[in-house]
Symmetry: C2
Subunit: 197 residues, 2 copies
């Protein structure tokens, strides 16, 4: 096998490990914890189908690829729960090292491309990054709502915390924020699944 293809196949096998990185979110039907690969798959399809609601026009292929690769760093860095303030302090450093090692397995041109795409997602400045991030927020919110808010209850999460995260959804999609996120938050506060603080 030529060296370029070997690097690509080694990377392809390496990212299989993302299927073992489990999140705090549970799949619908009161199922097991969701893993990063499934989450990324779900986000990418949702991004495609909901692209009409992006605040700004987006290159949807780029958004989808961003969704698919945005959690690969967690193979080394682990999942950092959205409301785990302690672990969030070291998240950037852990993910930076992971980015270099994992994407660095690819041929140089593709390593550079995927690192740049990951950095773009993290920097949260382009239209594509903002819309991808909106889906990164809406997808687990939708699952948790479908499960009667059990993940919020378990972690004793407050409305301030959820809104702190979800306010960013509006930067990518005002429509998804107003018609999906806001409605779900209000409903779960009313039901006592999210603390009204």
């Amino acid at each position: 096998m030529d060296e370029r293809l070997k690097k690509q196949m080694d990377f392809a096998l390496e990212i299989d490990k993302e299927k073992n990185i489990f999140r705090q979110t549970h799949i619908s039907g009161h199922g097991r914890n969701e893993n990063d690969a499934e989450h990324a798959w779900h986000m990418a399809i949702m991004a495609y189908l909901l692209r009409e609601y992006s605040n700004e026009p987006v290159d949807i292929s780029k958004v989808m690829l961003m969704c698919l690769i945005h959690d690969i760093v967690e193979i080394d860095a682990g999942d950092t729960y959205a409301y785990d303030e302690e672990n969030k302090k070291t998240q950037a450093a852990r993910e930076e090292a992971a980015k270099k090692r994992i994407f660095g397995m690819l041929p140089e041109d593709q390593a550079g491309e995927l690192m740049a795409l990951f950095e773009e997602f993290e920097a949260y400045e382009t239209a594509e990054a903002k819309f991808a991030r909106a889906l990164d927020n809406v997808q687990p919110l939708m699952l948790n709502d479908s499960n009667g808010g059990e993940d919020w209850l378990k972690h004793d999460v407050s409305q301030t915390q959820v809104r702190g995260r979800q306010n960013k959804t509006a930067i990518g999609s005002k429509k998804l924020y107003e018609e999906v996120v806001d409605r779900i938050i209000k409903d779960n506060v009313l039901r006592g699944n999210i603390k009204d603080e």
Copy 2:
């Protein structure tokens, strides 16, 4: 929520069930069975990174979307193992009904688009369908090879069976067939993981 968005969100939640459809393939590191959502995620990233090896030029965004949605019908129809000749007889009818019910949850334009894309994948005629199908074959082959061929051993699979399926990989990518698939098959026949019949 307006009716269009409601249909899109209902579909988004429905496809979460794909995470419960388990395949015969095991994830690397002698892990658990892989599910359809993870498989689709893996295929889509591999398609993007290996697109230079497609026999024909492809619209890679279309290939990726095809990869992401190609197994959604299995939510109703279940996974049909590649070498299960009995179940393969009813596969088309089961998947046809599933296609109508599940994609039919979407607004009409998107339902039509995704059904057409699924049909294109199944018909196996366009450059995009051929390349997507090549990845559908290469991804589990790669995983199974990484696990010492345990899935072939378990199902007592012969070289004729594996080549019967994998010959189609060459129609999408001669390069992947010759440098990845053929090498893996020969190696696993030699090791006794695939019967030399």
